[in-house]
């Protein structure tokens, strides 16, 4: 009788252990997916930041008098590149701060491209056109990366919040992650239709 109870106890422990093992690994996988997606978002934003000096250089060659625009571009770029997101400590406030800085960059970019309206030679420049196409692609990549990040965070959050996974998440410290929220106009690419 005593042996039987012991075997049942062992069997229960094995089942619980297997569930915990599988649940833990599942949460780790989902967290990794979200972390990778966050890195892709930052890489997409970095791509835009890297393009700015190139674009500014081309615009400067045709429009030397637009000093104020160039200063805004430099300022916005510097501010944005100083903020980095850490997947292990991702709070809604930090995401908002990051987004606000990136929105400044987007606006500066728009202003830089809008300058071409006043300079027909710049507008007709092949280098400028090429960078403009690249910029459109970069904005698409940013939106796509944000969308994928939000999707992976949603999958992760669902996993850690569903019962009984939520118990394991509490024990092992899998906290709910924040998503990008569409602030007014933040999700839109700058208007490049010039």
């Amino acid at each position: 009788m005593k042996n039987k109870t012991l075997w049942i106890l062992v069997a229960v422990l094995v089942v619980v252990g297997m569930w915990a093992f599988s649940g833990y690994n599942g949460m780790v996988d989902k967290e990794e997916e979200a972390t990778t997606a966050l890195s892709n978002v930052q890489a997409a934003y970095q791509r835009r930041a890297d393009m700015m000096p190139q674009l500014a250089k081309i615009v400067k060659a045709y429009a030397k008098h637009e000093r104020e625009t160039f200063e805004q571009v430099t300022k916005a770029r510097n501010a944005a590149t100083q903020i980095h997101l850490d997947a292990s400590n991702l709070t809604p406030e930090k995401l908002k701060q990051y987004e606000a800085a990136q929105n400044q960059v987007a606006q500066a970019f728009s202003r830089l491209i809008a300058v071409s309206e006043r300079y027909p030679e710049l507008k007709a420049s092949e280098n400028f056109k090429s960078l403009q196409i690249q910029e459109e692609g970069t904005e698409n990549r940013i939106n796509e990366a944000r969308r994928k990040f939000n999707e992976s965070v949603q999958a992760y959050n669902q996993t850690v919040r569903h019962f009984p996974n939520s118990m394991l998440a509490g024990i092992f410290g899998f906290n709910k992650m924040a998503k990008f929220e569409a602030a007014s106009g933040a999700e839109n690419a700058p208007d490049l239709d010039i």
């Binding site: 892709n40 997409a44 090429s130 196409i133 690249q134 459109e136 692609g137 698409n140 990549r141 796509e144």
Partner: protein, 260 residues
């Protein structure tokens, strides 16, 4: 039985066809023809393209897959949901997994004729070789130019030719105006040559009938010309088409699109 056939035909003509015509297609409801037939890549559910040119495009797409390792999907429809060709291209790429999972070398081209929009979306692994600027060049020279003349078939075929040329020779071949003007004639010559070669191959193989001990020979050049992925060395090929598959590639928003 005959009556049932008439009713079915009438139903299809009255309801299904207009429904297809009026549909705003999304990535999930565009039929992926490649999954049913490995030799086909052009999804044209509304039959907007000329059948012969569609076949020619399939040949180029098949060559892209076999010779360059690039899986492609070509979508030609009247309208897409919200007129968002970018979204449809990305969703097809990601959901169907166009392109090898390791290399991510996939390509999705979506043309929405009624929306007057197109998007050329390379997979993440192809973005370096087919840049946004090149996608834009190809789109303007092949799609915009032909769509302004109302020639959707040539728009798709010339795009396929340009992409194939890009990966075989490193140049899209769209710089040359003479070459671009030659698209229609070139396609016709290519088709005639294909048909002639196919007939020649069939006749040649047919004359060899005796002396091979009862083993039917249906391989030859036919599969190479028409495409028969995975069965090029299959001597008992015949009796239906096998479905293809996609490799699980992913798309990150690259490429270029526009309107006409």
């Amino acid at each position: 039985m005959k009556q049932f056939g008439y009713i079915l035909t009438l139903y299809l003509m009255l309801f299904v066809h207009p429904m297809l015509m009026a549909k705003d297609w999304t990535a999930t409801d565009i039929p992926m023809v490649h999954l049913q037939d490995a030799r086909r890549y052009v999804c044209d559910p509304e039959q907007l393209m000329d059948a012969a040119i569609r076949d020619s495009t399939d040949v180029y797409a098949h060559r892209l897959e076999k010779e360059c390792g690039i899986e492609t999907v070509w979508v030609v429809v009247s309208n897409v949901e919200n007129g968002d060709v970018f979204r449809v291209a990305q969703d097809i790429g990601n959901k169907a997994g166009v392109g090898n999972k390791k290399t991510d070398r996939g390509l999705v081209v979506v043309i929405a004729v009624g929306d007057r929009k197109y998007f050329i979306a390379p997979g993440e692994g192809l973005e370096g070789d087919l840049t946004d600027a090149e996608c834009d060049d190809i789109g303007r020279a092949c799609i915009v130019k032909n769509m302004r003349q109302g020639n959707v078939s040539l728009a798709v075929l010339s795009t396929a030719k340009a992409v194939y040329s890009k990966f075989r020779t490193g140049k899209t071949g769209i710089e040359s105006k003479a070459d671009a003007d030659d698209d229609g004639v070139g396609a016709m010559i290519f088709l005639i040559a294909l048909i002639a070669f196919w007939i020649y191959s069939v006749l040649r193989n047919g004359n060899r009938g005796g002396g091979r001990g009862g083993r039917g020979r249906t391989g030859g050049w036919g599969p190479i010309i028409w495409g028969n992925p995975g069965h090029l060395n299959d001597h008992s090929f015949g009796g239906g088409f096998s479905g293809g598959s996609f490799g699980g590639g992913s798309f990150g928003g690259g490429g270029a699109g526009g309107g006409w």
